[in-house]
């Protein structure tokens, strides 16, 4: 058992133990829940400490199609950095959940599923074998289903859980077929070898990466498979923070980063990614502007920010994408946890019931504000640097020395800048509706959340503030991500912001703030039912394109089955018995009729035989 495997197994063991000792006291369940990711964090830290790592692939078992003991793992900068982030956020979420889920009867199963999720995410992160990747990938989907459906008493929680699982599963068809194509053509399941072989042959690369992109779109909630993420907000907030903001949704981006050489070998797929990213980026941001529920605003914002990462990958810069992935993880987790705190205090997540909470929840106010600033991309915060790195990458591509066509670079740059403005607008609206202005909704004593909930907020605020600086030359991040990478890519140091991009982003920021301030933010909350608020009719499209035809097909198949096939089979039986009854009529009892029948049959036989023998 190598170190990465231990890191994966620890939370899994915590999950199993948590499930088995289901009925034990909450304290014991809580300690196990926190211990799992914490231990993983320690192991990740140890791994990080002993870099540079010698062999990139730690082969913990034999691989190959028929002996798929899928525990081959990879240890490189990319894996360790993301693993650190995952463990850190998971631990904080577990701690936060102790407070948030205080009166939840099924806390032990909830905590166990979160630990299981952490194990699955870590499996995806350290997977060196395609099958190990698929296992992690699908188990994550399962845990997201289970956790969204945590309080399955409510109807929309049940509906959202099924919707989340099925939409991601639709994407997973592409993912699995892509992996099958990869294994089929390259003959090996080890990721580096497979990627190496695939990137040499452009058709295989295009087909495989195109298919895997489908899975990524599903998991990372990009257009057209994004509609499940806003509904997933029916799950508890810590779940949204961990799964639907920081880790699972980022796993899609991570997998593309892991298989990046193959994606680079197929410019068409990258162009498609860029286009999809732009649509998602802007669309999601605009929709976020009109949401009436705090968590749905953040959900749409996540969809938009993920599009940034996908755009970064599309324009050829894996490091920008990973950098934005990490920074986004921190500040979006912070925002969700803060939102959770507000919901915990106010009792409802609708923006109609909040407002003017600044005095009563100072810490939450402070941390949420930092988070929002990071989201918008204000200077010292990590959001600024990571967004800038994406813009730089786009500008780089626009100059035409990237694999992708220049117009793609320009498209991404323009849409990214515009989105910054819209992001600024909705962030400001959210900030004002929550913290400023009169207290709406029924008055109830609002007081700060218990320490066990706001300490994680503070701890998350730290990286949100400082993480940006690691991107500059002086920081270790660019070399770190490159370290030990099996295929070193673009020049390190590309993450430092360029002057042009800074100018563009600041102007967009100001424009956004202006729009935000002028908009009649108080009355314009809306009830979230308008066409725009309901996600530009994508849900209706799902219904018409997939659900309704499926139900028609199901009804036709069941009717065909019970009708045609069933009736033919039982028909044969009834027919035989009926023919039996007809034959019985020949047996009426009169012997002379019997003999005459026999003799006529004989005569017929004689005649036919004569004819037959004659010919």
């Amino acid at each position: 058992m190598t170190a990465p495997l231990v890191m994966v197994v620890l939370p899994a063991v915590a999950a199993v133990v948590g499930l088995l000792l289901g009925g034990m006291s909450r304290a014991a369940a809580a300690t196990i829940a926190v211990a799992g990711p914490l231990a993983a964090l320690v192991v990740a830290a140890l791994l990080a400490a002993e870099q540079p790592w010698d062999a990139p692939i730690v082969d913990a078992g034999f691989h190959g199609v028929l002996q798929p003991f899928p525990a081959a793992t990879v240890v490189d900068g990319l894996a360790v950095s993301v693993a650190l982030m995952v463990c850190f956020v998971a631990t904080l979420v577990q701690i936060y959940s102790i407070g948030y889920m205080k009166d939840e009867p099924r806390y032990s199963s909830y905590a166990a599923f979160i630990s299981l999720f952490t194990a699955a995410m870590l499996a995806v992160v350290v997977a060196g074998d395609l099958l190990f990747l698929v296992v992690g990938w699908e188990v994550m989907g399962l845990c997201s289903y289970l956790l969204i459906g945590q309080n399955w008493e409510q109807h929309e929680a049940r509906r959202a859980a099924v919707k989340a699982f099925l939409v991601t599963k639709v994407g997973d068809i592409g993912f699995i077929v892509g992996v099958v194509v990869l294994i089929g053509t390259t003959g090996t399941t080890l990721i580096p070898n497979a990627v190496q072989a695939a990137s040499s042959d452009s058709t295989v690369a295009t087909v495989a990466s195109g298919l895997i992109l489908l899975g990524v779109l599903g998991k990372s909630a990009q257009f057209p498979l994004h509609a499940w993420l806003p509904d997933a907000m029916a799950g508890p907030s810590p779940v949204s923070a961990l799964i639907h903001a920081a880790t699972m949704v980022a796993a899609g981006v991570y997998v593309v980063a892991r298989l990046y050489p193959m994606f680079l070998a197929s410019p068409e797929v990258l162009t498609a990614m860029a286009v999809i990213a732009c649509i998602t980026m802007l669309g999601a941001a605009v929709i976020a502007l009109v949401q009436s529920d705090m968590k749905r605003v953040l959900a749409w914002s996540t969809v938009s920010q993920l599009a940034y990462m996908v755009a970064a990958l599309a324009v050829g810069s894996r490091d920008a994408a990973v950098f934005h992935l990490l920074s986004h993880a921190f500040f979006k987790a912070l925002l969700f946890l803060a939102a959770g705190a507000v919901i915990h205090a106010v009792g409802s997540s609708a923006l109609r019931d909040t407002g003017g909470l600044r005095q009563s929840m100072p810490v939450t106010f402070m941390t949420m504000s930092i988070g929002l600033l990071a989201l918008v991309g204000v200077f010292p915060l990590s959001g600024f640097f990571s967004k800038e790195s994406v813009l730089v990458a786009a500008e780089h591509a626009a100059e035409g020395d990237e694999v992708v066509a220049p117009w793609v670079g320009w498209l991404v740059l323009v849409v990214a800048v515009v989105t910054i403005a819209v992001t600024a607008a909705y962030a400001l609206r959210l900030w004002m509706l929550t913290w400023v202005g009169p207290r709406r909704g029924e008055a109830r004593p609002i007081h700060e959340t218990p320490p066990v909930m706001y300490v994680p907020l503070v701890l998350l605020a730290v990286p949100t503030l400082l993480f940006g600086f690691t991107a500059l030359d002086v920081g270790a991040l660019p070399t770190w991500i490159q370290a030990n990478a099996t295929q070193p890519l673009a020049t390190p140091g590309a993450l430092t912001p360029g002057l042009l991009t800074i100018a563009l982003s600041v102007t967009a920021l100001l424009v956004g703030v202006g729009v935000g301030l002028r908009g009649r933010w108080s009355s314009g909350i809306g009830d979230g039912r308008s066409f725009l608020a309901r996600g530009l009719g994508v849900d209706a499209a799902y219904d018409w394109l997939a659900v309704r035809p499926l139900l028609v097909l199901v009804r036709w198949v069941t009717e065909f089955d019970s009708g045609v096939i069933q009736r033919t089979v039982s028909g044969v039986g009834v027919g035989t018995v009926a023919s039996g009854r007809q034959l019985q009529r020949t047996q009426r009892g009169d012997v002379q009729r019997y003999v005459s029948a026999a003799l006529t049959a004989l005569i017929v036989a004689v005649v036919i035989t004569l004819v037959a023998v004659a010919t």
Partner: protein, 502 residues
């Protein structure tokens, strides 16, 4: 081989036990179920003996072979043996038999008569084990038919709903299939002059003329397809499952269905390679129709057992797809799919049986909601089994399906593009499988608990189900345990087909 008494012992012990029960008369009612557990445990021990004696490195060749002439006029030899292909299935049968016996100790289905029930289960066990061990065509056919009478009685007397009609459809449909298969066997015997499966597989079958092979293959496949069940011959399965008692459903889904696919891999593929190469694409097409059809049909069902029955049609579709690729990966995936489906669907039917016992019904219209609340552990098991059945990676159900897709990417037969289309359709089937299982969990597991008082999983249920749960996880994480055994034998089979490939 000194220890070749093991295989006949595996057959004789349950046979003698059922005769003892038959003779023991009415006073045996009290100790019948315990006697059943005892005999099955002895069977399990013998099975472990076989596992011990079995040499992994020679897994390609027949081991523990027993050969005695029985009916010279029909060239019938009482020839038993075990190799990589049949060993896992024999182990699965012994295990499921034991679990069924433990389950019936305190849960004898409705009209009681435990003595007759246990006797029939033991007879069923003899038929199943015999089918997987037989190395002679007619002997295989005999054991294939031995299974029918006990299963018929199980459904007709201990079943529920219109069980008599379901039992009759089951036995008449299957007998028609097996008689058609017999005619196929007779063609092979008449044309090659031998009924020995091993000799036929090692090239004796290839000498048959092209269209004789095709005729024999179509007939045998027709018979086995009824048993698998392959789409359009599947209509008997849902009725049989809805009517069968829990133990009957478990053995029916767990092992009876595997006789069909085992027959294909053991007899049709190696013995009739030329015909198999021609038929393979059509088999793949039917398999994929089965996958999609099974998934769509089970989404539309209104009864829990019928949903699982149609899901079996879907899963066996994946196994057939694996076989139709005629490639090493494909057939290994098919054999693994067999074992995984047996374990998982066996567990599913046990859980559904438990639900039926507690709520009295399996129809969605009358089933109470909120099983997670009223019986959390039972609800968890239902969720676990459903998730395993829809092919969640990390659990046993995934490898069978996934690797048959990998096999379908590179089939041994020339029609690669056709197989890749099949591959994508099969992958779509996976989503539909997820859809109908989630519908089940949502309808049964979730929602406000309407039947509050429901006792959770009892001790004997745990005892009977734990081996299946453990195996689902172990085989999910380390599928190599099965592949180690099946791979050498499958390579032998694929070699014999290689000659026929263009």
């Amino acid at each position: 081989m000194t220890s070749n008494w093991l295989l006949p012992a595996l057959l004789v012990v349950p046979l003698l036990a059922s005769v003892i029960l038959l003779v023991a008369g009415r006073r045996a009612e009290s100790w019948a179920t315990w006697f059943g557990v005892g005999v099955q445990s002895v069977g399990l021990v013998l099975m472990l003996g076989v596992l011990a004696e079995y040499k992994r490195n020679m897994s390609g060749s027949m081991q523990l072979v027993v050969d005695a002439e029985w009916v010279p006029e029909l060239l019938v030899h009482f020839r038993l043996g075990v190799d990589g292909i049949s060993l896992p299935l024999i182990a699965l049968t012994s295990l499921l038999g034991w679990c069924a016996a433990v389950y019936t100790v305190r849960r004898v289905p409705e009209p009681g008569r435990a003595r007759a029930l246990v006797g029939l289960l033991l007879l069923l066990q003899v038929g199943l084990l015999g089918t997987f061990m037989a190395l002679d065509l007619i002997l295989f056919f005999l054991f294939f038919e031995v299974v029918l009478a006990p299963m018929w009685f199980l459904i007709a007397f201990w079943g529920s709903g219109e069980r008599r009609r379901a039992a009759n459809t089951f036995i008449l449909y299957t007998v028609l299939g097996s008689v058609v298969m017999l005619v196929g066997f007779l063609i092979v015997i008449v044309k090659t002059g031998s009924a020995d499966m091993v000799a036929l597989a090692n090239g004796l079958g290839e000498q048959m003329s092209g269209n004789a092979q095709l005729a024999a293959a179509l007939l045998i496949l027709g018979g086995l397809a009824v048993k698998t069940p392959m789409w359009p011959f599947h209509t008997w399965l849902p009725d049989a499952h809805t009517a069968a008692p829990t133990v009957g459903s478990v053995l029916l889904a767990g092992v009876l269905l595997k006789m069909g696919t085992y027959g294909m891999v053991r007899i049709v593929v190696p013995t009739l390679p030329d015909a198999m190469v021609q038929i393979a694409p059509y088999l793949a097409a039917f398999a994929v129709i089965g996958i999609l059809y099974g998934a769509l049909a089970s989404y539309g069902q209104q009864d829990l057992k019928r949903v699982i029955a149609f899901s079996s049609v879907g899963h066996m579709g994946f196994v057939l797809l694996g076989i139709s690729t005629l490639s090493v990966v494909g057939i290994n995936a098919a054999l693994f799919g067999n074992i995984a489906h047996g374990i998982i669907t066996g567990l599913l039917f046990f859980v559904v049986g438990g639900i039926k016992q507690r709520t009295g019904t399996t129809a969605f219209a009358s089933l109470p909601r909120g099983l997670y609340a009223s019986a959390p552990r039972l609800g968890f098991l239902l969720g676990f089994a459903a998730v395993a059945s829809l092919g969640m990676p990390g659990l046993a159900g995934f490898w069978g399906e996934f690797l048959s897709l990998v096999g379908a990417y590179h089939p041994a037969v020339p029609e690669h593009l056709f197989y890749r289309v099949m591959l994508v359709l099969a992958a779509v089937g996976m989503v539909l499988a997820a859809a109908y299982f989630l519908r089940v969990l949502r309808r049964v597991g979730q929602g406000a608990a309407s039947q509050a008082t429901m006792d959770d999983v009892a001790a004997d249920e745990w005892l009977s189900w734990t081996p299946l749960i453990a195996l689902t996880v172990v085989l999910g994480l380390a599928p190599v345990l099965v592949f180690q055994v099946t791979d050498p034998a499958v390579r032998m089979v694929v070699e014999s087909v290689a000659g026929a490939l263009p």
